[in-house]
């Protein structure tokens, strides 16, 4: 099949007169398409057996099999039915002959002697049409392949979602075996897991209409059929007919259950269990099933491992750690704040890293990050105390220097000597354009300028908290401009065993310099680029603050057509409205956020073409009129898909005026909202939108 797709342009020329053929060849060669010459209808039919042609030029009058007959045969074969045929007739042809030609399947005809230009143009059109058709076939094949992949991914997702929603090992085992049996059409299934009380693997959960009886309810690794498979750490498909009585009995196969799929659950190279799916028909499972289930088994193994570790209380510490960090960061009108926390990869202990952010007022945000030396519950409790104390000092309005001085006092008074903690406290003032910071033994923050250049904001090196009551952290003030990003981090990010710390700091600067501008993506990028290959010894926290450029005037965004851009656009609009339309009440502001997000979502849903497709989103204010526009370079499509057709009606109801300007190469959605209270919010607010 690939063969004919590759020879997309081949043109078949059929004429029993060699001179005519040579003339045709000369006329059509400039098209640059492969040409096949046939001197009879029979030759043409033979050529069509192994070559897919884009168009056939067929002489009507030929000696043996004439053109009309040849065309009828071509039309009668499914493989060639779709190939366009252009008949060549003599000047003297009668209307009757032309009519017959059309009846036998001609799409066009030319009269001999033909005009070279016209013939070339006609053939060129069909070659092009054929190309498009082949392209469509390719696309539909790609789509079919993509769908098959999507189905497989979906299967994996169902299994791994089941895996992630259960922490109790028994519940998890039941969920996994249920879903696997359902997804793979098994009539019986069993999951065997390692059991601390007895050696080997024991049946932990079952599913299916029938019962899979594993001999002794247990598999000893390395013994018998199943134990042998388990020992190889690989999966297998077994047929009852190929097994002797003993193996059949051990694997639970009988006259009812004739085929078996066996997949081991392996985590970190260790065998955790065995999943068995059995079916009544012979040869029920295919190699594909084995491959898919093996992939799924990796995720199941992780979940089982996770559940077992949870049962050991090991996971509790991570849950505890996350519960000590702020669930939501402030949505400040002047700044974007994002943070990430990653627990240590190896040590199953609470780390001491923490961060926090407090919105002080409409211009200022306090951000803080710290690290308590030590691990475990004790470190976590200390961390929580420090965070709460510092948050209180921040809310009370203490500057960085004073806040840290107070905190140091708290540490000395309550924890006593020997407890070491580092902390960095920063107040960012959007109005003044300043970063005020003080640090106690903590690495300084890094600042990224709009042009991507990066540097550390150093202050005088100071000791960690709780070391010396006479040492006072000093405060420094740096300028910060709209669009610039401040990155706070803990030393897990820059400490790598056996590497000079200066190298790690350079790597961090590099990672920050090349990171995407958007703060969430920026945090991800920095973590990814600085993560060590073999897991971390230490936990890591990063926090980024970006000053939003809210200079008065219009908001002009150009964003990639991705779903994340919708969130970014909404957050930017929120900040812009705050600055440029402060009189808007929260309901009206919410309305505009939704209307704008719906318009952006519609662009993103229907983005196609080049991967780097983008769209423009603009907001402007003219007196009491707010105007929001979203423009993309594609055809407008009526909102559908996940919006369930509710996107457009929402845009209509939530704006005073909605216009959609459809141009051949772009679509612009404009929403207008009056700011005057007697107009705003009255239209349509009582009506509900029903599904369209």
């Amino acid at each position: 099949m690939a063969d004919y797709l590759d020879r997309a342009g081949t043109v078949l020329l059929v004429d029993d007169n060699r001179e005519n053929l040579a003339a045709l060849q000369a006329v059509l060669e400039p098209l640059g398409e492969p040409l096949i010459l046939a001197e009879s209808g029979e030759q043409a039919l033979r050529a069509l057996l192994h070559t897919e042609c884009s168009v056939i030029l067929l002489d009507v009058r030929m000696a043996t099999m004439d053109g009309l007959q040849t065309a009828r045969i071509i039309r009668s074969r499914p493989a060639t039915r779709h190939i366009p045929i252009i008949f060549m007739t003599a000047q003297s042809s009668e209307l009757d002959e032309i009519t017959q030609a059309y009846e036998s399947g001609a799409v066009d005809y030319v009269v001999k002697p033909f005009e070279p230009e016209i013939l070339r143009a006609k053939v060129g059109v069909f070659v092009e049409l054929h190309r498009e058709r082949v392209e469509r076939v390719r696309e539909s094949r790609a789509r079919a392949e993509a769908e098959a992949v999507a189905r497989a991914v979906r299967t994996l997702q169902i299994l791994s979602d089941a895996a992630m929603t259960h922490l109790d090992t028994d519940e998890l085992a039941t969920a996994l075996v249920d879903r696997s049996a359902e997804l793979f059409g098994a009539d019986a299934a069993a999951l065997l897991l390692r059991d601390e009380k007895v050696p080997g693997l024991s049946v932990r959960a079952r599913a299916g209409e029938l019962r899979l009886e594993i001999e002794g309810e247990r598999v000893r690794v390395g013994e018998d059929l199943l134990g042998g498979i388990a020992a190889t750490l690989g999966g297998a498909i077994l047929q009852a007919r190929n097994l002797d009585d003993e193996d059949r009995a051990q694997a639970g196969l009988d006259d009812n259950l004739r085929s078996l799929l066996v997949v081991p659950l392996i985590s970190a190279g260790e065998l955790l269990g065995l999943l068995l799916l059995a079916a009544q028909p012979e040869d029920h499972f295919e190699q594909r099933d084995l491959e898919l289930l093996t992939l799924a088994a990796d995720r199941m193994a992780l979940a089982v491992d996770h559940a077992q570790r949870y049962a050991d209380g090991r996971l509790l510490v991570e849950t505890l750690q996350r519960s000590l960090l702020p669930e939501r960061l402030p949505l400040h009108p002047r700044m974007h704040v994002a943070a990430r926390y990653m627990p240590a990869g190896v040590a199953p202990q609470v780390g001491g890293d923490w961060y926090d952010a407090v919105e002080l007022d409409e211009q200022r945000t306090a951000v803080m990050i710290g690290d308590v030396v030590g691990h475990g519950i004790r470190a976590a409790i200390t961390m929580s105390e420090l965070r709460n104390a510092l948050r209180a000092f921040a809310v009370e309005g203490h500057g960085p220097e004073e806040a840290l001085r107070q905190l140091d006092r708290v540490v000395l008074a309550t924890r006593g000597p020997g407890m070491v903690a580092t902390v960095l406290f920063v107040v960012i003032d959007a109005e003044a354009g300043t970063v005020a910071l003080a640090r106690a033994g903590h690495p300084p923050p890094a600042l990224r300028a709009v042009d991507g250049s990066v540097r550390f904001l150093e202050t005088k090196r100071t000791l960690p908290l709780g070391v010396d009551p006479d040492e006072v952290p000093s405060q420094e003030i740096y300028p910060i401009k709209p669009g610039e990003t401040l990155l706070l981090f803990t030393d897990g990010l820059v400490e790598r065993r056996g590497e000079p710390i200066t190298d790690s700091f350079d790597r961090l600067l590099d990672a920050l310099g090349e990171a995407p501008a958007e703060v969430e993506a920026l945090c991800e990028h920095v973590l990814l680029k600085t993560a060590t290959e073999q897991g971390r010894d230490d936990d890591v926290a990063v926090l980024a603050v970006q000053l939003i450029d809210v200079t008065a005037g219009a908001l002009d965004l150009r964003l990639p057509a991705t779903a994340q851009s919708v969130t970014v656009a909404r957050h930017r609009l929120r900040a812009w409205l705050h600055e440029n339309a402060p009189e808007l009440d929260p309901v009206a502001r919410g309305d505009l956020e939704v209307a704008w997000s719906e318009a952006c979502s519609n662009v993103v849903r229907h983005a196609y073409g080049p991967a780097e497709a983008s769209f423009d989103a603009n907001a402007s204010r003219d007196g009491d009129v707010l105007r929001l526009t979203v423009r993309d370079t594609g055809q407008w499509r009526t909102p559908g898909g996940r919006s369930g057709g509710r996107g457009l009606p929402l845009m209509e109801v939530l704006s005073d005026e909605l216009t959609i300007d459809r141009q051949p190469d772009s679509t612009t959605v404009t929403m207008v909202r009056q700011l005057r209270p007697e107009v705003a919010g009255t239209e349509g607010s009582g009506a509900a939108i029903l599904r369209t």
Binding site: Q157, I158, T319, E327, R328, P586, S597
Partner: protein
């Protein structure tokens, strides 16, 4: 090991994960309560949907608490409508909690979610609706 299990299980998001929304699950009698916080839009609705659809579906009903949701749009509305209809087919019930006057509540009203699922003002009234077998509020 069951007694170590927290009352609320984190299904999605949480501090330091960078997720736009978090989802936690807890049991209330024979019903499951899902609490969502944060923002719901096209960028995360598929992940939220996956989490919800993967839940064991043996309970009498499902309550989705949107009290801590600060933003939602048509993508979330569609998920809720679909979920309500899906549950109804299995004779299970969906109750949504969203505080009056909140921006999400306004969107739920404009899109007539009440036609498919009762919307309660706060968690307690939502739970009593669930346990009463849930006739829609007037």
């Amino acid at each position: 090991m069951t007694d170590q299990q927290p009352a609320r299980r984190a299904l999605l998001g949480g501090a330091g994960t960078g997720e736009l929304a978090s989802v936690t699950a807890s049991e209330h009698g024979a019903s499951l309560v899902l609490a969502i916080s944060g923002e719901l839009d096209i960028s995360n609705i598929d992940r939220v949907a996956e989490v919800i659809h993967a839940l064991p579906n043996t309970d009498a009903g499902l309550l989705i608490d949107l009290s801590e949701v600060s933003y939602l749009d048509s993508s979330a509305v569609s998920l809720l409508h679909d979920l309500a209809m899906r549950l109804r087919k299995r004779a299970q019930q969906l109750i949504v909690v969203s505080p009056p006057q909140s921006p999400p509540r306004r969107i739920l009203e404009l899109t007539a979610l009440y036609l498919n699922a009762p919307v309660a003002d706060e968690l307690d009234s939502g739970i009593s609706l669930l346990s009463s077998g849930g006739s829609a509020p007037p």
